[in-house]
Structure formats: C-alpha cells, structure tokens
C-alpha cells in the first residue's frame, strides 16, 4: 500500500526551480532513499512534504494515505503521522534530552498523553535510539554531536510517526557510528515506521534502501533498486560529470 504519493511537485524560489515536476510514491513499510548532488532539491522536497512552506505557492499534490495534505499546516501534518529530522540538527539545546522527546510525545500526536505515561515512554525512546541512561537528564547543549543526533531522532519518534523523514542522519560520522545508525534505522523500520531518508553516505543508503530516488537540478532523474541506480548512466553523470570522450 502506498503511504505517500506525490504528483508533479514543483516549488520555485524566485527564478530558481528548486523542485521541478517531481512525482514519486512511498510504499508502507519500506525504506526509500533520496540522493542527489548538493543543491538538487532534496531538503526542499522534505520541506514541501512537512509543510514548512505553508502559505507560499507550490504546484502539485501530496497525498498521505490518500488524503491531500499540501495545504495543511506543519503542526497538523505532524499530528497526522509524518515526522522529520533536520539536516543541520536542531534539537532544543537548552532543554534536557527527555524534555526534547516529551515535546514530541505531548504535542506531536493526535491523542493526548498523560504526564505519568509520557515520562517512561520518553525514556524508552531514548533507550531505543541508544542514548545512555545518565544522559537522559542532561541539557542537550552539553551533549556531543552524535548524542544530539540521537535526541533529534528520538524527538521525531516521540510523535509516533507512520512516516519518518530523515535528512542526512549520518553526515559527518565515522564508520562505527554509521553502523550503529544503520542498525537503528533498520530497527525503526522493523517497528512499522516507513522511512524516507536523504543520505550522502552511499554505503549506508545502498545497504538500507529498498528503493532509491535520484534528484538533479530539482528533477527526478532515476528511480529504482539501489543496484540499478549505481549503474544508471544519468546518475553517474550527475555525480561525476559527463564523460567527454
């Protein structure tokens, strides 16, 4: 079943067409990868789906479980079950890790959660993303980047999403951390959350994704199984430039 369907999405910033007539879908339960060179419109696509540009013009339709959401406000989209992380991670730095997750739990869900139920749940989520127990009550500004990234994902998971958008979760990580996060993303998928992720770490995205979409200059240039993508001539050209001989 298709959880998200986008048709003919176009977003312009002045003369720049950031996303140009992009159509794609996400199947429920899969991990869909999104790759493309810098400035190809990947984050803009995420922003379109989560309603960041609410109120400014765009073309095309976004359907979540068959329901049109391209006119909804971001907080409503979150309540419907789409959550996200940010490329330059943006946890609430002056709050504790637990409070960050609690924001997701309290406000990001359609049903109200009581304070007694929310706290243990927040702790479970932090355990799930692998944040050590003694860091749960630490102010996020005091945590290293890797833990902030965990908090960022935990906050998104707190909203109990059906679809999770991860914007370059593994950028700047070492090999060991990439392995940890790959496992985490697999576990997220196993807990029945569909994942749509942007990633530049090719090894991770090729291992994890069921399918991959490639953007270049705002246009979708390829779609398919990771293996097909790596041998696709257009994709190779987009990344490495045209062969001139």
């Amino acid at each position: 079943m298709k959880i998200l369907e986008c048709e003919h999405l176009t977003k312009r910033f002045g003369g720049l067409v950031a996303v140009d007539d992009v159509s794609f879908y996400i199947n429920e339960g899969e991990i869909l990868g999104l790759i493309g060179p810098n400035g190809s419109g990947k984050t803009t696509l995420f922003n379109l789906i989560t309603g960041t540009y609410h109120g400014s013009p765009m073309n095309g339709t976004i359907k979540f479980y068959g329901r049109e959401i391209s006119r909804e406000k971001p907080h409503n989209i979150c309540k419907m079950g789409i959550s996200r992380t940010f490329q330059l991670i943006k946890p609430f730095l002056n709050k504790t890790a637990l409070q960050n997750v609690l924001v997701g739990i309290y406000f990001g869900r359609r049903d109200k959660v009581s304070e007694d139920a929310a706290l243990p749940e927040a702790q479970n989520i932090l355990d799930f993303v692998g944040l050590e127990k003694d860091k749960h009550n630490e102010i996020v500004a005091n945590l290293p980047i890797i833990d902030r990234k965990r908090v960022e994902i935990a906050r998104a998971l707190g909203t109990k999403p059906k679809l999770l958008l991860l914007d370059e979760p593994m950028s700047g990580m070492n090999v060991q951390e990439i392995t940890q996060f790959s496992d985490l993303i697999c576990q997220i998928r196993d807990s029945k959350i569909t994942v749509f992720m942007i990633e530049h770490v090719m090894r991770a995205i090729m291992d994890l994704s069921d399918r991959v979409i490639v953007l270049n200059y705002g246009k979708k240039i390829a779609e398919g199984h990771p293996k097909e993508i790596t041998s696709n001539k257009k994709v190779v050209e987009a990344y490495l430039g045209e062969a001139e001989w």
Binding site: P74, S83, Y106, F107, G108
Partner: protein, 308 residues
C-alpha cells in the same frame, strides 16, 4: 522531599500572612510604596509570561495595564458600579490583546518588539486625544477615599495569584510548548505545536493579569495621566525588571521589580527622572555582566543550590 516541600509551603504561608497583616502597622507612605512594588511585580511577572517563557519581547505590555485602568476610571466616572467597571477593565484588556495579537504575531524577534511598542504609543496618544471622555493629558480621577489598605490587599492577592500561575505554566505542558517556541519556532511547528494559538494564549494570560492590576492601581492612586500608565518608562520598566532579576524564572521578575522599585523610589525624591538613566544603565550592565539576570549569576546560583 515531601518534608522539604512542606517546609517551603510553611515559609511561603508565613510570608503571605506577614504581608497580609502589614497594613495594620505601617504608615500610609510605606503602604503606598509597597502597593507600587506589588504593582511593578505583577506587571513584570505578567510581561515575563510572554517575554521570558515564549521569548517574545513585548515592549508594549503597559498598554494592557493602561487600557484596563482607563476603562475602569471612565466607567466609574459615568456612575457605574466599581466592581462592574473593574471587570470591564480586565475584559477590555483581554479583548484588546486578542485584537492586536493577529497583526503582532505575524512578526518575529526585533520586529515584534518595535511593533508592540508602537501599539502602546498608539493607545497613549489615542487616550490623550479623546479629551472629552478621558480628560486628555490632564489625567483622570476617581472619587474614592481611604483606598490605600484595600488597594494593597487587592494588589497582594493579584500578585500571589500571578506568581503562582507563572509557576504552574512554567512547569506544565503548555510551558514546554512555549519553551520550544522560545528555542526554535521553525522546529517547534514541525512537532505539533500550533504556533499562533500558543502565542495568543500566553499573550492573553499576560494581558489578563496586567488587566487585573490596572483598575486596582487606579483605585488606590485615584489619579492617573496617560503618560503614567502608557509612558515609555512604564513600558520599559517590566522588561528591565524581568531581565535584571532573571527572565524565565518565576521569581526573577519579582526580584527585579523589588530592586528597581526601591532604587526608583530612593532616586525619585532626590533626582526626579534619574531612574530612567538607571534603567538604561541596568540594561547595559545586564547585557555585559549578567546576561541571564542576577538570579542566574554563578555565585547566586551556588547559594541557592547549596540550600537545596
């Protein structure tokens, strides 16, 4: 834990009782001054509900104070019952806050602050020029006598209510939503926080508490002019009090109001209007030396934490 809580509650109760019986023993001058301090506290505390919890620096917070005071005074002068007039004053302030929140909350950061001070000045000039109703720049009086004690008690009750409400909000889910907005609005909206609704709600709550003290201030003073309630020093005072004490802490604005209130009263006798200079100086010094306010300074924190 519960013993500590019990002790805290006991100390607070004793303090409130002492404050409540004070009018029996103190001179009218001291009592008037204490009422003024309480008024400052309430305005600073209710300002900080918006400024400290949600991060929106509302430089025109005095407008709610002025509007409720003037509504009350005008209605009393038309012969309407004082309670009805007081309630109308509060309702007026709340409705006005709803009315201006739509344009104001489309702005952010410094733009919000500038626009909010414009609202305050707009109200001041409007009331100054509605001479037939408000008495214009000459001010307005209400025919009450022996008002000091009752005014003090009312102010004390409102101050206690306001501080408790601040405390509750800061620890509630609503407070967490406000904190998220303060940290990063763009992110907060992606986690289910309805920005506009949340911001309006806190502005209305702030306007309500300020609106409550307006009529009381009018009642105990019996005479005000537009520049007393709307003037720039009254608009800036709560902001500086909150920043000086510790914006975002429930006891911060209270502490700031006491310090600046006393300084102002001491200076007023010797060098009138010199307190404005002190406000400016305080603002500069807070920025350089104590960005988090006095109560967030490391050595003060150490004392507070040792007591715990």
């Amino acid at each position: 834990m519960s013993l500590l809580k019990l002790r805290t509650i006991a100390i607070i109760t004793v303090m409130i009782v002492i404050l409540a019986v004070m009018p029996m023993f103190l001179s009218t001058y001291i009592l008037t001054f204490l009422s003024l301090l309480l008024t400052y506290m309430i305005i600073a505390e209710s300002y900080d509900m918006v400024g400290g919890l949600s991060g929106y620096m509302n430089l025109g917070h005095a407008v709610f104070f002025g509007i409720s005071a003037y509504l009350f005074a005008v209605m009393v002068n038309y012969g309407i019952n004082a309670y009805v007039a007081g309630i109308t004053g509060v309702v007026g302030a709340v409705i006005f806050s709803l009315f201006i929140s739509y344009p104001l909350f489309r702005l952010r950061g410094g733009y919000f602050a500038i626009a909010s001070i414009a609202v305050d000045l707009f109200a001041m000039y409007l009331i100054t020029n509605l001479r037939d109703i408000t008495g214009g720049a000459h001010g307005i009086t209400v025919p009450f006598r022996e008002t000091v004690k009752i005014g003090y008690w009312l102010a004390l009750a409102i101050a206690i209510g306001c501080v408790i409400h601040y405390y509750i909000i800061a620890r509630s889910k609503f407070g967490l939503a406000l904190a998220s907005i303060k940290e990063d609005e763009e992110v907060a909206q992606h986690f289910g926080i309805a920005l506009y609704k949340t911001k309006v709600k806190i502005l209305v709550i702030g306007a309500f508490w300020t609106g409550l003290i307006g009529p009381v201030f009018m009642y105990s003073r019996t005479y005000i002019t537009p520049s007393v309630v709307f003037g720039l020093d009254n608009a800036l005072a709560p902001v500086i009090m909150a920043l000086l004490g510790g914006s975002g802490l429930w006891y911060g604005p209270v502490f700031g109001a006491i310090i600046l209130g006393i300084i102002q009263e001491l200076l007023w006798v010797k060098i009138p209007y010199f307190h404005l200079f002190i406000y400016g100086l305080a603002m500069v010094l807070i920025g350089i030396v104590l960005p988090g306010g006095i109560l967030r300074a490391t050595y003060v924190r150490r004392i507070v934490e040792r007591k715990r």
